[in-house]
Amino acid sequence: MSYTTFGTPDVHQLPQWDLPTGALAQTFSRTFSALTNTTSGLATQNEQFNSIYLPTGLVVTSSTLAFGGTPATNPTNWWYCLRDASNTIIRQSTDQLTTAISANTRPTLALDSVPTTAGARVASTTVTLTVPTLKEALTSLVAVGDSVAVSNANIVAYNGTFTVTAVTATTIAYVSGGSATDSLAAPFPTVQLASGKRTYAVVASGAFYLDLMVKAGTVPSTLANTGNATANAYAPLIAGRDSTNTLTGTAVAGPTVGGNANHAWGYVS
């Protein structure tokens, strides 16, 4: 009776019976309701990794994490990121900058952008942004003629909605409002992909990571299952944290991720 439903065809279907309305997959069942309201799984400027099972064909548009009773104090950068089991970036939300993270809230952010690691103009109106290694080839995500939105560059002229003029494996170019020779410093901007290219369709069922980064005076608490210390002795991690990179506006490629006892509850939609 019940055991037949443990079979392979149903594995990715079963966790969905208690999904919140609108959610497509969650980091773990809501029936694990004795969650801990904890700040210990999160440190300022460190990306927190929360594993989530996503089945083939699932189309991810946005993500949500549950914050607990401690709000963020003076946030300056915070965002979500979706990565694959190898920690490779798939999508990132736009940096939310100083937007409040209030207690007992569940912000939903669109996973519609990709991060950058550099940007420059060389005696020209053309901006060239450098994009870190992504799960999908940049040339499959961005094409000449696409309309993309660049946000939060610290040179104002770089920001706005632009038409892409060139794409390589690692760069995106577009014409900005003025000619100059300059280059960006961190925090680097995100690039919202063109309409129709923002969502991610899961190619193969398996583990992914739903990540959170907050730079703040005091980090917020998340609602987490805290019993993962032992399980995290085995790769891939159920919950992790990149305590090597000191992050601001964007996710970086190749993070060094250590175990984290706290697995935050969240979902994709």
């Binding site: 079963l14 208690d18 809501r30 309701s33």
Partner: protein
């Protein structure tokens, strides 16, 4: 990992050798998560609800709840006691016979048979419901389960569909379950199962 996570996620809703009592088919969640025997006693005349996963085609004969450290003592006028099964839209599917002299000891499992066994028609979320009115001078039982769900309104259990709830609209219930309940989130997540 993900595969195991998927399985672990399901244990709360599925029968398995470790997670549910030996006579249970499906439980609201794994019994090893029961952390309290002192969940707040149900309000007289108000039904409480716990979400449970049941697959399509499952015959539900009985609903079972686990008392906390205080048992039920009926006394005075108009005691009532029944259990009911609801669908995910919180429409009633079946109810046990109302009992006016029910007994339920502290820490004991109380099983009540639906008046007619119900065969589920879809796989997914159902609700087990319990209504206890111990009478005008009776003692309401506490329940066992998960208490003090963290962060109140921020708790994932408080998102729709609710996992633990009460019907605060249909108050003053006596011998009959409300055809349709209006759920309000509860902070106590009482344990139950069906067989």
């Amino acid at each position: 990992m993900s595969y195991l996570t998927g399985l672990a996620t399901d244990i709360g809703g599925l029968a398995n050798a470790l997670g549910v009592p030996s006579n249970a088919h499906y439980a609201a969640y794994s019994k090893d998560r029961i952390s309290s025997q002192a969940l707040t006693a149900p309000v007289k005349g108000q039904a409480i609800f716990t979400a449970i996963y049941i697959p399509s085609g499952q015959v539900v004969t009985n609903i079972c709840w686990l008392a906390g450290s205080t048992g039920l003592t009926t006394s005075g006028t108009a005691p009532h006691f029944w259990m009911a099964l609801y669908n995910s839209s919180v429409g009633v599917l079946g109810q046990s016979t109302d009992v006016t002299n029910a007994t339920w000891s502290a820490g004991a499992i109380k099983s009540s048979a639906l008046s007619a066994a119900f065969t589920t028609t879809y796989s997914g979320l159902y609700y087990c419901s319990l209504m206890v009115d111990s009478g005008s001078t009776g003692t309401q039982p506490t329940l066992s389960g998960i208490s003090a769900i963290s962060a109140g309104v921020g708790s994932p259990t408080n998102m729709t569909p609710l996992l633990c709830a009460r019907d605060s609209t249909n108050t003053g219930l006596t011998d009959t379950a409300a055809p349709t309940a209006t759920l309000t989130a509860n902070t106590n997540y009482a344990y139950c199962y069906v067989n």
